[in-house]
Point group: C2
Chain length 395, copies 2
C-alpha cells in the first residue's frame, strides 16, 4: 500500500537516536545533570550575534517580494558571486558565481551530487569511519556505497585498501574532513597522495573519478591545524559545504556545492546538479538565508567553547587510560573502546550514565564516538564516570 | 559520465521559462512598460507586514540554539500543534500535531507523498489542465502520470473519462484547487462526486486509492467562493499545503502535509512520508520559518490586488471577444485561444508584446494561461494589445 522501503527508512530508529532517547528518559528519572549524553552532534554554541542582526537588517532593508521571492534554482546570482569571492580570498581559487549551486544544507548538496552523477550501475567509495547517512543517500539514488576500512593508526587513509577497492565501477570518492566521527583532519600529505591515486586510476580506466569533499566542519579546527582546500589538489572535485556548524544554523538548511571550471564536463555536471536538485524538490535554498550567509560569509566561527571542551574531554580520557587521537576538528572524539565489542562497551558505559555511540555504526568496530558539543560542566562531571568505567576493565 | 536524465531535467528550459526570458530581453529593447508579461506565477504582493515583524520578534525572543537548531524531522511539535488547531477551527476537523508533517513547500510535500506511496509499478492520475512539474515529480519516483482530459465547459472534472481511466494501477489521484492554470475552484458537488467515484473504485479493487490535494492557492479565492476541505469528503486524502502564495514566501520553502487519522494505514503512510523526506534530504523544514508560519497561521492573505487584477483582465478579455471562466481563485486566467493551435496563437500574441503560455504545456491544447500577479498598470496597458490581437483574428 505504501513503499516498504520508505516506511523502513522513516521508522527504523538509528542507534544514535535510540541512545539519545534513552538519555532523555534517564534524565527524567535521575536529573539532567546526572546523565552524560555524548550521543548527538548538534551545535550547542549559539549563532554569532551578527548573524541574527543580519537577519533583522535584511528584513528591514530589502523589498519583501525580492527577499522572500523565488531565486533562480542555483541561487541568487549576487549571493553566489559574493561567496565565490570569499572562497577565492581564502584559498586563492578563481571562482565566479557560476561555480556555485546553493543548496538546503550539506545533506542536500551531497545527495544532489550523487543523483547528478549516478548512471545505471554505479558505486561510490568512502572511508571508515564515516557518517552513516551516506549509505542511505547513496542507496536512494540506486547506487551502492563501498567503504575502505579505517586506518586506525591515525584515521588518515589506508591507501593499500583504497588502491584495491578503487575499481572502474567507482563513480566518485567521498571524503569528510574534518571527520565525523573521528575528529581527524586529513593532512596535506594525505590529500596529495589521494589525488595521485585518483589521477593514476583515471588514466588507467580512461574515465573521470569524481572526488566529493563533504566539508560541514571545515571551520571547526583547533590548535592551528590547516584544512587543505581539496580542489587545489585534484581537479575533479565537488565541494559540499554547509553553514550548519560554522554559523550554528543546522535547522535553516543552507549550504552550497562548488563545481570548479577545471572539472571534466563542467557544463554536464552543473546541468545534472540542477536536474537533481529539481527532482529532489529543492526548488531553491531559503531566499532569506542565502542573503544572510552571503553577508556573513567572512564571520569567523565561534570555536572557543568546542576547543576547550575537546581538550578537556581528551585529557580526561587519556588520564583515565583511553587511547584517542587529539582533537583536530569537528566536535567529536573517537577513542578505542576498552573491549573489542563496541556495542557491549557502550552498554557497560550506560551503567555509569555515559551515553556513547558504538564505532560499528560508523563502519569502525572497536571504537566509540563522543560528541563534545555539550555543556563544559557535563564533561567535567562525566570524567569520574569514565575513570570508573576504565577501572572496571582493569579488574 | 553524469546522469543524462538529470542533465536533461536541469538544462531543458520549460516553455514558461523561455517565454519569461524572451520578455526580459524584449524589456531591455523596448522598455519594461511596453512588455505585457503574463508568463510567470510569482506572487507580486509583498508578505503581510506582520510576517516580517514576526521574523524579527522571533529572532529577538527565542534562544538562538533552539531557534536555528534542527527540529525533529516532522517539524517542531508545538508548531504542528498550533497549525493543527488552526485547521480545526477553520474546517471543523479534529487534527493534532501528529497529523502534520512540515515540509519545504508544496513541491517537496507532493514529491514526498509520491515517493512514500509509490511501490514497484504505480500510476498517479491527475486532471488537465495541470501544473507541468507533476509529471517530472511523479516520474522521478519511478511512476507514471496519467492525465484525464480537461472538461473545457467549466474546468470541473470529466467524470466519464475519470471512471474509465481510474484503473487498479492508480495509486493516487492528484487535484489542485484553486487550479493552476485554470483559476477554477472545484465545487462541493465536484468533490462529492469525486469521493463517490473513488469510494466505489476502492471497493471494486479492494485496495485504497489515495487523493492528494495540492492546495498552495487555497487562500486566494474571490467573490466569496468556498473551497471545500477535501478530507471531510474523502477519508484517504493527503493535503499538501504551502505558504508560498498565501503569505508571499515562495523563496522560503515552507508548507506541510496533512495525514488524517482516518486514512487507511495511518502509521504506514506517516512512516513512509518520514522515510521519503529523509532520502529526498529534506532534513527538516526551515526551523525559523516553522515558527513564523505557526505564529502567523491566522493572518489573512492579502488578496485585494489579485482580485482587482483578475477582474480587470477578465473584463478586458471578454470585451475584446475572448471566452474565459470568471476568476475564482489563484492568480491565473485560462482563456480559449483564438485559433486551435495555441502555440501559433501565443506566437502571434508576441507581436503585440503579449507574453502568454500555451495551454498545451498544461495538458490542455487550444487555451492559454495569463498570470495576473503583475502590476495593475501593466494589465491596463495590455488591454488595447489584446483587442488588436483579437481584431487580427476577425479579419
Amino acid at each position: 500500500m505504501v513503499s516498504e522501503k520508505m516506511y523502513g527508512l522513516g521508522t527504523r530508529k538509528s542507534t544514535i537516536r535510540t541512545i539519545f532517547e534513552f538519555g532523555r528518559k534517564r534524565a527524567a528519572e535521575i536529573g539532567e545533570e546526572n546523565v552524560y549524553d555524548f550521543s548527538i552532534g548538534n551545535p550547542n554554541v549559539p549563532a554569532p550575534a551578527i548573524v541574527n542582526q543580519t537577519i533583522i537588517d535584511t528584513i528591514k532593508e530589502m523589498d519583501s517580494c525580492a527577499l522572500h521571492g523565488y531565486t533562480v534554482a542555483p541561487g541568487d546570482p549576487e549571493v553566489r558571486e559574493t561567496i565565490a569571492k570569499s572562497i577565492n580570498r581564502r584559498f586563492g581559487t578563481d571562482y565566479a558565481g557560476k561555480n556555485l549551486f546553493m543548496t538546503s544544507g550539506a545533506a542536500a548538496a551531497l545527495t544532489i551530487c550523487f543523483k547528478a552523477l549516478a548512471e545505471d550501475w554505479d558505486e561510490f567509495l568512502t572511508f571508515a569511519p564515516y557518517f552513516p547517512e551516506y549509505k542511505c543517500f547513496v542507496e536512494s539514488v540506486g547506487s551502492e556505497l563501498k567503504v575502505v576500512p579505517a586506518n586506525t593508526d591515525d584515521f588518515q587513509i589506508r591507501f593499500d585498501m583504497l588502491e584495491e577497492m578503487l575499481t572502474p565501477h567507482i563513480k566518485a570518492v567521498i571524503i569528510n574532513t574534518p571527520n565525523n566521527p573521528s575528529g581527524v583532519v586529513y593532512s596535506e600529505e594525505t590529500i596529495k597522495k589521494l589525488a595521485e591515486v585518483l589521477y593514476a586510476k583515471e588514466k588507467e580506466y580512461g574515465h573521470p573519478i569524481f572526488l566529493i569533499s563533504d566539508e560541514p566542519y571545515r571551520e571547526l579546527v583547533y590548535g592551528g591545524i590547516e584544512v587543505p582546500y581539496v580542489p587545489k589538489y585534484y581537479k575533479n572535485t565537488l565541494v559540499c559545504y554547509s553553514w550548519s556548524k560554522s554559523l550554528s544554523l543546522p535547522g535553516e538548511r543552507i549550504g552550497y556545492i562548488v563545481v570548479p571550471d577545471e572539472i571534466e564536463g563542467f557544463e554536464q555536471v552543473y546541468g545534472a546538479i540542477a536536474g537533481a536538485a529539481r527532482v529532489l524538490t529543492h526548488v531553491n535554498a531559503s531566499s532569506l538565508f542565502q542573503r544572510v550567509v552571503a553577508k556573513c560569509v567572512d564571520v569567523p566561527s565561534d570555536i572557543a567553547a568546542y576547543e576547550e571542551n575537546g581538550n578537556l574531554l581528551y585529557n580526561g580520557l587519556i588520564e583515565a587510560g583511553f587511547t584517542c587521537q587529539k582533537p583536530q576538528g569537528a566536535f567529536y572524539l573517537f577513542p578505542k573502546a576498552l573491549e573489542d565489542d563496541d556495542y557491549a562497551f557502550c552498554e557497560r558505559a550506560k551503567k555509569y550514565d555515559l551515553l556513547l555511540v558504538p564505532g560499528t555504526d560508523f563502519g569502525c568496530p572497536g571504537y566509540f564516538r563522543a560528541a563534545y558539543c555539550i555543556k563544559k560542566s557535563t564533561i567535567e562531571a562525566s570524567l569520574p564516570a569514565f575513570r570508573k568505567l576504565a577501572e572496571e576493565y582493569r579488574k
